[in-house]
Symmetry: C2
């Protein structure tokens, strides 16, 4: 039986095939995300992977249905696997708005799902680091969020040579549009056309803008000038105070496709432009009100960073650390009459917090030794001593091949200390 | 808009209402599971939350459909949200059987889904710690797995006074049945009747066994004798060598409802019997062969431990640690002319790995101070110094109210050292 197309299995290291997905790489990415969020004072939350379909259509309209894993459950509810986290966040915050001091700084690492029928071989799920600040209208929140995005990528060892944040303003585009087109219902078509500027031919773009009564040349000139609005200028100064200004470039080609952004928007790209966007986000001041049916009105902003492009980039830039499994010790059972004592030693070492393995069944010493090497053991520990004798433990460090003979309690203490030194 | 019935939102601490689910408690449980798995040399894997429905019906028959979140996707595939992890594990191992040395010791922390229409108020999802050993037929693997289960519960601070492992043997019941009933097709009905012994009246049980031609008295006598089979005796001796014998009690009332167990089976319960089973598992030597369509034949065993009963028990026994959020430092901005310098200080502290927050917008000093206390800050750091002057940082430890005045670089070093001491 096969897994579903577009879904991933995550295997332990070492991977069975080079193209297998690594559970350890995924955990490394999650751990790094959590660590940076902690430094920035963001608290973790999560919601259900299955939500009422309406949570997504209320925001994006029925057009999103074509991309959803949606179905009718046995209770006749229209439900969908979550395609993004922001509606769940807005729902959760609105439900307990009085329970938290504003601004709230929250993050989550949800698995998200999109059913796109046409794209064969493309993934239908990914994990995403979502960080949001809710309840702060001031641009200081935008700066804090962009700083978090930059430091998240820096935490993976990526530098200014590796990535850039392209900063733009939905508001600046809104003003550009309003001056040239009186029909506000067409704004979304305009944003979509701007969003696709980089991916479509000038002819196609020109036709789209012409349909809105807007000259293509004016659009490209606006992009080329890349003159920061006063709010973007303020943001850049705030980031400069943090020493992070050089990671950011004003680029009005970025606009974010989704309808609900209201202020500064941004995307992170690899500097060489080889990959799709690493992350994207912006301010969405009207969404909480929309999701809560008008009950709660809070300004908000956030970004999402997926695990797939990030992992590709880390691999391509050699920034993925060794994910080889290691053990603190392997207990070798060379004398089967000492198996019970060996089990006690294993237990003592594990009780001391050490990662320990051993051959479950009798095996030749050289086979056990080879297995210890394969498992990445730092030490082996081998019991000796006849019946009724005081037992001893031969502790061997594999990197240096140095041996020490100790009584069992001292061996546990010795290995525990070595484990703590290794961190 | 409301979340779906039976699903949970996980909120940051402090919780907005006493009955809200805590994201921090969930993370504490996950971290502890991962930590014990690491000590035992288990490697993490994961699979998709959505699988072909057939993966579950091949093992459990169509009767499981009534409990599944199953639907037809847009590609006309019959799919289901995973109700358990073992079929995915069997599928993954079978797909790359040659890629791993046996036995493999793997664990996962999947979210699992069951749609049970009749049970209002009951959860339809939970998270489960799944640990399995595949490719080892020897009872030594069963002992290792039960030891892991015991040590997982011990890692939460639970003791012999808090929980017990009830150990049984599917094989012993199989033999009991075969001696008394020639129709092997009825074995599953028999196992189901034994499984429900504790939850049904003697009259109901008696009728069920009578229908199979088996005397109820013989069943209860077999349970009461609780004479360990030779294999259970062997297991108990292995656990005794580890010092874990006293956590286990032979109890033939345990049989595990599912059809696919083949050897020793066990369940963990709270000692007072106030909660449902904390965990359960056993040997299932035929499942990998079944799932792989006969291609791969590997003996296997495993257990699952859900997060819901565990959390209830930890709360009831006072074993849940403080999950209050803490920060290493809050930077107070008492002089807005020093905001840019304060941002640099915040950045310096975060670059040093410290968890730091600050007021994004101007606020009165006493309000900032109060917020620092609410956020659980260990230190506050406040810049001082006029334009053109060398800036100083007043570092205050909140627990002792002691103050130190340092230059900014020294303040970062001081707080970094304090953060490392705190671990």
């Amino acid at each position: 039986m096969e897994r579903l197309p577009g879904f991933r299995d995550f295997y332990p290291e070492p991977l069975p095939t080079p193209d297998a997905w690594s559970a350890a790489a995924r955990q490394f990415i999650f751990d790094t995300w959590r660590e940076v969020a902690r430094r920035y004072g963001f608290a973790e939350y999560d919601g259900p992977p299955l939500e009422p379909t309406e949570l997504y259509t209320v925001k994006s309209g029925d057009e999103i249905l074509g991309q959803l894993y949606n179905f009718t459950d046995k209770g006749e509810r229209s439900v969908a696997l979550r395609p993004e986290m922001t509606p769940t966040l807005a729902r959760m915050v609105a439900a307990h708005e009085r329970g938290y001091k504003k601004p709230v700084k929250w993050f989550a690492i949800p698995q998200l799902f999109r059913y796109e029928r046409q794209q064969k071989g493309r993934l239908r799920e990914h994990f995403q680091f979502n960080a949001d600040i809710i309840g702060e209208a001031d641009l200081a929140a935008d700066a804090e969020l962009i700083a978090l995005l930059i430091d998240t990528l820096r935490a993976f060892g990526l530098t200014r040579e590796d990535f850039v944040i392209r900063l733009s303003s939905r508001q600046a585009w809104q003003e550009f549009f309003s001056k040239r087109c009186a029909d506000s219902a067409k704004a979304y078509d305009f944003f979509q056309a701007v969003d696709k500027l980089e991916r479509e031919t000038p002819e196609v773009s020109e036709a789209k803008f012409a349909a809105l009564g807007i000259a293509y040349r004016e659009v490209t000139e606006f992009v080329a000038a890349s003159a920061p609005t006063p709010e973007l200028e303020w943001l850049l100064n705030n980031l400069a105070a943090r020493g992070l200004r050089d990671f950011v470039r004003v680029d009005y080609q970025v606009i974010r496709g989704l309808a609900y952004y209201t202020g500064p928007v941004f995307e992170a790209f690899d500097a060489k432009g080889e990959f799709r966007a690493i992350a994207g986000g912006g301010r969405y001041d009207n969404l909480v009100k929309l999701i809560s049916g008008g009950k709660v009105n809070l300004p908000a902003l956030g970004f999402g960073m997926g695990d797939v492009v990030l992992l590709e980039l880390l691999k391509a830039r050699g920034k993925l650390p060794s994910l080889r499994r290691t053990l603190d010790a392997v207990v070798l059972v060379e004398d089967e009459t000492l198996r019970a004592d060996s089990l006690a030693l294993v237990q003592g070492l594990r009780d001391a917090g050490l990662a320990v393995d051993f051959a479950l069944t009798p095996a030749k010493p050289d086979k056990q030794w080879k297995r210890a090497l394969e498992l990445g053991a730092r030490f082996t520990a081998t019991l000796a001593g006849g019946a009724g004798e005081q037992k001893t433990v031969r502790v061997k460090e594999l990197s240096t091949r140095t041996e020490t003979v100790l009584d069992p309690a001292a061996a546990v203490a010795h290995l525990k200390a070595a484990g703590q030194r290794a961190g």
